[in-house]
């Protein structure tokens, strides 16, 4: 009976193709919205997770407090670095100086983000911070006039791509390009240019300032204990707390809770469109019951029980919903991949969307649930019709 009812329902839908497809479309939009938004926000979560994995859990960052692009805030100095370096909780403290400088390559002038760091920490840079070199070499045995480029900085800053072995003028000083880093997947890092600290100080005209201090925790020291120790050490010189201490755990927690809120809102909005799709199904099914009152009467006259009629209408709703769910999941992942491509083109290559099986099941399952719930009332109405009255319609 089930398989036969299916073919009966299908031929009914085929008889009214436009209406059937329009109803399917309503579900497709809802499911595609849910699936694409969840897929993208999952991708975002993975991207942030990957960022923190690279950051490492045995690290603490100290930077000036405030909302501004990195490098534009001042407040920390080399004396703070010395004080922190002396703390027993840490293996070392690396200062960075960030800022914008005038660059010149093959006669072309441009502005770029430079990042100065002390060359004596070049080993730590590779071992602890996992900065990988894509081409050329790192600061391994570099001289003091070496510069290593971020992936996008190399490609985009000038008309022609910068080549290893060429010279780059930074604030008028001639430097030697020795390597290009692997892409990080976010434009902030990928557009940066790393160079020795003294070059950065000269280029930015800053003798004492520090934009960022990287601290490595000794084995067995928790990041919370490290953060507390940093705060104690800086309290005297920075009573107004114009700096902030960031630990990986804390940051990830903040990001995840923020992302959780964003995700909830997004899924809520997408859910509304799914509900709208459900209302569409309900509307279509009620119309179908009205439209086919006479058909229902005929079916009852030839022996259809109320149960059979209800099953037929429920099945129709479920088929419409399943078709909508299937197409919606496909379209949703298509949209997510498109967003991924757009993000990658804008430098956020870290954002990768994966076709997770649970999301496929969720999309189709939700569509089916919507369909059956929306179909239930019309199906009951159809089943309850009095045969003689239905025939008169």
């Amino acid at each position: 009976m089930r398989a036969d009812a299916l073919s009966l329902v299908l031929s009914g839908l085929r008889g009214r193709p436009l209406r059937a497809w329009l109803t399917v479309l309503g579900v497709v939009i809802g499911v595609a919205a849910v699936v694409s938004l969840i897929a993208v926000s999952q991708g975002l979560k993975h991207a942030i997770g990957a960022q923190f994995e690279r950051f490492g859990t045995n690290r603490i960052e100290v930077m000036p407090r405030g909302f501004a692009p990195p490098g534009t805030l001042k407040g920390l100095t080399v004396r703070d670095v010395e004080r922190l370096d002396a703390l027993p909780e840490f293996e070392y403290a690396v200062p960075y100086l960030l800022g914008r400088a005038v660059l010149e390559y093959k006669g072309e002038v441009s502005g770029g983000n430079i990042m100065g760091f002390p060359l004596e920490y070049r080993k730590q840079l590779r071992d602890d911070f996992g900065i990988d070199i894509a081409r050329g070499q790192g600061f391994g045995d570099a001289t003091s006039d070496a510069v290593v480029l971020g992936d996008l900085a190399a490609k985009e800053l000038f008309e022609s791509e910068m080549r290893i072995g060429d010279n780059l003028l930074v604030a008028g000083r001639k430097l030697h390009i020795i390597g290009v880093m692997e892409p990080f997947g976010n434009p902030e890092d990928d557009y940066s240019i790393m160079l020795p600290m003294d070059v950065a100080r000269e280029a930015l005209g800053d003798e004492q300032g520090v934009s960022l201090i990287d601290l490595k925790l000794k084995k067995g020291v928790s990041s919370a204990a490290g953060a507390e120790s940093v705060q104690r050490a800086l309290d005297r010189t920075h009573p107004s707390e114009d700096y902030q201490v960031l630990t990986a755990e804390q940051l990830q927690e903040q990001f995840n809770s923020l992302l959780g809120v964003v995700q909830a809102i997004i899924v809520g909005i997408a859910g509304i469109s799914l509900v709208v799709g459900g209302v569409g199904i309900m509307n279509a099914m009620f119309t179908a019951v009205l439209d086919r009152t006479r058909e229902i009467g005929v079916m009852k006259a030839v022996g259809a029980s109320p149960r059979s009629i209800a099953i037929l209408f429920l099945m129709e709703a479920a088929i419409v919903a399943a078709a909508g769910g299937l197409l919606g999941v496909g379209l949703g992942f298509g949209i997510a991949l498109l967003i991924q491509a757009i993000a990658a083109a804008s430098g956020f290559g870290l954002l990768t969307v994966t076709m997770e099986p649970w999301l496929v099941i969720l999309g189709i399952g939700f569509a089916m649930l919507t369909g059956v719930l929306s179909g239930a009332l019309p199906a009951r109405q159809a089943a309850a019709l009095q045969p003689v009255e239905a025939l008169r319609a």
């Binding site: 030839v302 022996g303 045969p387």
Partner: protein, 223 residues
């Protein structure tokens, strides 16, 4: 053995915008197995209402409708659906075929609701349509068939579950007289060759004469 159909002092009252309308006023009628009966009456006489009650499409307001001795008012809707499917075959004036189903699928529909397997359904559907000389129209949709063909499909459908009773409500009402005559011949054959109990509802005296027994209904009861 009880009569196939027995109506005992049956009343049917409708409320139409607050006014009570008596479609049947104490109709009593007994139909034995294998009879070919015509129920003739002018429009508004209650003949269609009587047919709906005999066909279990409706229940009486008062009195009893017995099918093979069973009071239909005592049966749940699911049992009535089963009776409509197995014991009774309807032929309507409006044909009442499902527009989205082919001729063959329309004929098979009553068997589907009785849980007959697809193979058996199609086999019987084909042979019934063959008997109606429609072997070349199996896959046609109702919209692609003429009035006479539609009514022959409907007769094939009425026979699908081999019911004991055929109820034909103005079966020639929408057909020209030549086509109508051939449809009546077919219905007559069901009585002669298959021994079906047939009730033919009509307003037309000439058509009523095809039956072996003629009853006249007026103002909701037999005259």
């Amino acid at each position: 053995m009880p009569p196939v159909i027995e109506l005992r002092d049956v009343w049917k009252t409708y409320r139409m915008s607050g006014v009570e309308v008596h479609a049947l006023r104490g109709l009593s009628l007994t139909v034995e197995q294998g009879e070919f009966l015509s129920l003739r009456g002018p429009s508004g006489s209650g003949k269609s209402t009587a047919m709906h009650l005999i066909g279990c499409l409706d229940l009486p307001s008062r009195g009893k409708v017995l099918l093979k001795g069973k009071d239909i008012a005592q049966l749940p809707e699911s049992s009535l659906a089963r009776i409509r499917g197995k014991t009774i075959g309807f032929v309507f004036q409006q044909f009442n075929l499902i527009p989205t189903l082919s001729a063959l699928d329309n004929v098979c529909l009553p068997m589907l609701f009785q849980g007959v397997s697809r193979e058996k359904r199609e086999q019987r559907g084909r042979s019934l349509l063959e008997r109606m000389s429609l072997s070349d129209r199996l896959r046609h949709l109702p919209a692609e068939l003429s009035g006479g063909q539609l009514q022959r499909v409907a007769i094939a459908r009425a026979l699908a579950n081999d019911p004991e009773v055929i109820l034909a409500d103005e079966p020639t009402g929408n057909l020209d007289s030549a086509t109508g005559k051939s449809v009546l011949e077919l219905i007559g054959n069901l009585h002669r060759e298959d021994g079906k109990t047939i009730i033919l509802v009509t307003h037309d005296q000439e058509i009523a004469r095809y039956a072996k027994r003629e009853e006249y209904i007026l103002d909701g009861r037999l005259r």
